[in-house]
């Protein structure tokens, strides 16, 4: 009577045992046989690492959210994905008078998702609204006033000559929202209504987001080619790779380095390595002894083996960078950058003259990769006799400590979209300069000069000078530039991934 139960029990035990054993055995014998359903040609499914914190333009600084903002919104000038230079978007040209008055001519016949026609009044309403949002000053602070000259002409006046205006207009805080909805207090987080190539259809929290192509998109060249766009949230790297192999998704926005070899071996999948300007940096508190001494900072800079970090913490995917600025910008330079050299490191320690064993460098880390990086720095600096403490913490505490200057070392990434914004951070008295960052009157003067230089070549020379001077001071240590890995189904084409981390999904199309 109970035979079948007994049989079942034995089978269960057997399955568990065999399963565990097969789990133990190494090798690639068991490729998932998820089977590949024919790719639905009117849908693009993208795997994201985490849920976007917000879909609005004005209350976040998240890369994922900005990526999604780009689907539903446009700006007057946008940062081109390839050149990282500002190019026309909703405006088609501009002119500058008196170095502070910028007049933009706007494209006509542009529609918002709700049917409203885009005009200069929307620009005025958007920028005025953005200026009221706390935290937006970095992107709107230079703007003194905005006025609509007529329906398709808008004039922006800056406080003083400011070369970064076009870049600032390309930031998500200045993405154009319809005036009528701003006035109504519309919740753009639930319904991000803009002029962009896609419209949000639904958002299943923690799980997926669905978009649909916007038929009336103004830019015929960049109108969405795939009708349905779906984002699925898959936090685990291996899971994203498997989802792609099994045909559950068509594009993986962030591939984990550990999965690249396997994905490359799959004939249905292409892996893209995107060099980025995301510069992961070790910041040291320049106000804390002995890190106030450039000799100590330079010694540490010379002693950190970037390749160890890339191999050990990043599975080999990263680009060595020694300069304080990311390579790849218009104006980047490697001049005076300290490259890995232990002898030099010891020389600088001697120049400082203290006992290395008295140096203690606690490094705050906000995620696992950074813990891994800090752990490698720990063993690197042990060779100089410098003690490093790895201090992992949640993002909130990490920010609080960092912004309050309550840190000695902190690993953070720094990825502004242009070289001017980049060097502006070396100014000692900016809202985005933290306690303990560089404080040098000479550099401050140079930064001010660069900002006010509207002439491109002259500004470029100044930026290069700032970078090489800052390299000598080593207020912070660039560790590596991220290489972001994307992977997609082989039939997917038109893929453009920018060095700032964005992807133009509206340009994707299915081959055949």
């Amino acid at each position: 009577m109970y035979k079948w139960v007994r049989a079942m029990c034995v089978v269960l035990a057997f399955v568990l045992l065999v399963g565990t054993l097969s789990g133990c055995s190494q090798g690639t014998q068991g490729e998932p046989q998820g089977g590949e359903p024919p790719a639905p040609k009117d849908t693009l499914r993208v795997a994201l690492t985490s849920e976007p914190p917000s879909l609005t333009t004005c209350d976040h600084d998240s890369l994922i959210s900005v990526g999604l903002n780009l689907l539903t919104f446009n700006s007057l000038y946008k940062i081109d994905h390839a050149s990282l230079l500002p190019v026309p978007d909703l405006a088609y040209e501009y002119s500058v008078e008196n170095d502070t008055e910028w007049t933009f001519k706007l494209k006509e016949g542009v529609k918002f998702h709700n049917g409203d026609l885009f005009t200069a009044h929307d620009v005025v309403a958007t920028i005025e609204y953005a200026k009221t949002v706390p935290g937006s000053t970095l992107y709107t602070g230079s703007i003194k006033s905005v006025e609509a000259i007529d329906d398709y002409t808008v004039k922006i006046t800056t406080h003083k000559p400011y070369a970064g205006l076009l870049y600032d207009l390309g930031y998500h805080y200045n993405f154009i929202l319809p005036k009528s909805l701003i006035e109504k207090g519309h919740d753009f987080n639930m319904e991000p209504i803009g002029t962009g190539p896609y419209k949000l259809v639904s958002w299943d929290y923690g799980n997926s987001l669905k978009y649909e192509a916007f038929e009336d998109y103004f830019d015929a060249d960049h109108k969405a080619k795939i009708k349905n766009l779906e984002f699925v949230i898959i936090p685990e790297g291996a899971s994203r790779a498997i989802a792609l192999e099994a045909g559950e998704v068509d594009f993986v926005w962030e591939v984990s380095g550990a999965d690249v070899a396997r994905l490359n071996a799959n004939p249905n999948v292409n892996v893209l390595e995107v060099d980025t300007v995301d510069n992961v940096t070790l910041f040291m508190n320049n106000d804390v002894k002995p890190f106030d001494d450039p000799n100590v900072r330079r010694a540490i800079n010379y002693a950190i083996n970037r390749q160890d970090i890339i191999d050990g913490a990043l599975n080999g995917y990263g680009r060595v960078n020694y300069s304080v600025i990311s390579q790849g910008f218009w104006g980047s330079t490697n001049k005076n950058a300290p490259e890995y050299n232990l002898d030099k490191a010891r020389e600088y320690l001697n120049a400082w003259g203290g006992d290395p064993s008295t140096i203690n460098l606690p490094i705050l880390c906000s995620n696992e990769t950074r813990v891994a990086i800090a752990t490698i720095i720990q063993s690197n600096l042990a060779q100089l006799g410098i003690k490093v403490e790895v201090v992992p913490m949640d993002t909130a505490t990490y920010f609080a400590k960092w912004t309050a200057g309550d840190y000695v070392g902190v690993i953070a990434s720094w990825s502004p979209s242009n070289s001017l914004t980049y060097v502006q951070r070396f100014h000692s008295n900016r809202r985005n300069a933290y306690p303990g960052s560089l404080n040098s009157p000479e550099i401050d003067a140079l930064v001010l000069q660069a900002e006010g230089t509207i002439d491109n070549d002259a500004r470029l020379a100044l930026i290069e000078e700032i970078v090489s001077e800052v390299n000598l001071l080593s207020p912070q240590i660039s560790l590596y530039q991220s290489v972001w890995l994307r992977a997609h189904h082989k039939d997917l084409a038109g893929i453009v991934c920018s060095a700032t981390g964005y992807t133009a999904y509206n340009d994707f199309y299915w081959k055949k």
Binding site: E368, I376, A382
Partner: protein, 297 residues
């Protein structure tokens, strides 16, 4: 989740040497309990001698990137190396120390606080009992793992806070157990006698009542340690417990998880360690309960 194991039937009779000996003999006749005890003894010894077996700084913490992710082998690293080239066995051995220390101290903390509260509630009754029991009602209405997570979330993730959090979340259980035990012996003749000759409350509780409730407390203690090992691993797995580079079993599992597809030993082995320890404690706990409760079997 192991509460079902210790559905209380009856309290042990008053402790005497012979009864304790009898219990001990009964425990020894339980094969599972003996196996559990042997395993735990070896584990505790390993944890104590961890520094003699593997040097913490050079073998457990220090990275050796060139030899990362080497699979287990008899020649090189017995259990393989992790993503930073560190010997997995060395990290397991030192991890056992971490797991045991955190679990043990959290349960001791819970016993001390919860036991005192429970003894007071049971002994004095009335308003004190009411207040303490309503408090434990509240604590018991929060799932334990969640409560620990909230405490760690507020205080920050490190070993001390983890111990505090786990301890705090076990307090109500000890309060309940001790109170129940105290209630059953409070009316016993020898307690009445002690009180009638004018002994102080503290003395009565410590000298006369607690020793006679020791059975259920021992059983509960063993099982709570199993639970604490689980929760230590769980919180570290979520990144809310012991922080790297310090080794802890749950933490090892969490970092091994990234490599589960190609280097599955990194997630299999730490899990086995956690499981066998909990298993051993459960076996011992079951055995203790049977041994201390003569009316069974």
């Amino acid at each position: 989740m192991m509460k079902h194991l210790f559905r209380r039937r009856a309290e042990p009779e008053e402790g005497s040497m012979s009864l304790l000996q009898e219990s001990w003999m009964r425990l020894l006749s339980n094969k599972g309990a003996v196996a559990g005890m042997v395993f735990l003894t070896i584990l505790v010894l390993t944890a104590i001698c961890a520094d003699l077996i593997y040097d913490y700084e050079t073998e457990v913490i220090m990275q050796d990137i060139p030899s990362r992710l080497q699979p287990p082998s008899l020649k090189g690293h017995l259990l393989g190396t992790d993503e930073y080239g560190r010997d997995l066995l060395a990290r397991l051995v030192h991890g056992s120390r971490m797991s045991l220390v955190v679990s043990f101290s959290s349960v001791v903390l819970a016993l001390a606080v919860g036991g005192t509260l429970g003894a007071m509630a049971g002994y004095f009754g009335g308003v004190i009992d009411n207040i303490i029991m309503r408090l434990t009602d509240v604590l018991l209405a929060i799932p334990m793992t969640l409560f620990a997570i909230v405490i760690v979330a507020a205080l920050g993730a490190n070993t001390t806070n983890l111990t505090l959090a786990l301890g705090a979340s076990s307090i109500p259980i000890f309060a309940r157990v001790v109170r129940a035990s105290v209630l059953t012996v409070r009316q016993a003749e020898y307690v009445e006698a002690a009180r009638s000759i004018g002994a102080k409350h503290g003395t009565v509780i410590l000298r006369h009542i607690l020793p006679n409730c020791i059975g259920p407390i021992i059983v509960q203690f063993t099982l709570r340690i199993a639970q604490a090992i689980y929760n230590t691993a769980a919180l570290s797995f979520l990144g809310m417990g012991v922080q790297p580079p310090a080794p802890e079993w749950g933490g090892l599992l969490a970092s091994g998880r990234t490599y589960i597809r190609d280097y599955s030993y990194l997630s299999i082995i730490p899990g086995l360690a956690i499981m066998s320890t909990i298993l051993a404690l459960n076996l011992l706990g079951d055995g203790l309960r049977d041994a201390l409760d003569p009316r069974l079997k």
